[in-house]
């Protein structure tokens, strides 16, 4: 499955929990959250745009770093 790395402006555990929840709602997805480095690594068949939209739902600044 394609791997994508995103940079998400998370500041605390509440933020990363919020990211976890929205990603889980999307389903069919595997991901790792690296809070200290503000990175989210996603393993999914969803398109980058779809993942981006989902991450943006949290209201945080999201940038696509690239495939991994």
């Amino acid at each position: 499955m394609p791997k994508h790395e995103f940079s998400v402006d998370m500041t605390c555990e509440g933020c990363s929990n919020a990211v976890t929840r929205v990603l889980n709602k999307l389903g069919d997805i595997q991901f790792e959250i690296d809070l200290p480095n503000k990175k989210v690594c996603i393993d999914s068949e969803h398109s980058v745009d779809a993942l981006m939209e989902t991450l943006k739902k949290t209201g945080k600044t999201v940038t696509y770093v690239g495939p991994k």
């Binding site: 500041t11 605390c12 555990e13 509440g14 933020c15 919020a18 929840r21 739902k57 949290t58 209201g59």
Partner: protein
């Protein structure tokens, strides 16, 4: 004040906020919604008080909006609608 303008107020419990950054994001995001006049989020009381226009928003749509952001939003309606 415009007599056609209707205003309602709702308080929604929000679980999962841990810092002021969470509070700020919710205020920014929900405050931008159409029909929301004012929002105050309290970290200590874990709730959000929203003043809104019932013609444009309902308590349910705002609860969903907070839920969509990844927080646990629970509606305490004093007059439950069947």
């Amino acid at each position: 004040m415009d007599p056609n303008m209707s205003v309602s107020c709702v308080s929604i419990s929000v679980e999962g906020m841990t810092c002021s950054s969470c509070v700020w994001t919710i205020e920014q995001h929900i405050g931008k919604l159409n029909g929301v006049h004012h929002i105050k989020v309290s970290l200590e009381e874990k709730n959000a008080t929203i003043i809104y226009d019932p013609k444009l928003q309902t308590a349910e749509t705002m609860q969903e909006a907070i839920d969509d952001m990844g927080f646990d939003a629970i509606l305490h309606s004093p007059h439950p609608v069947p």
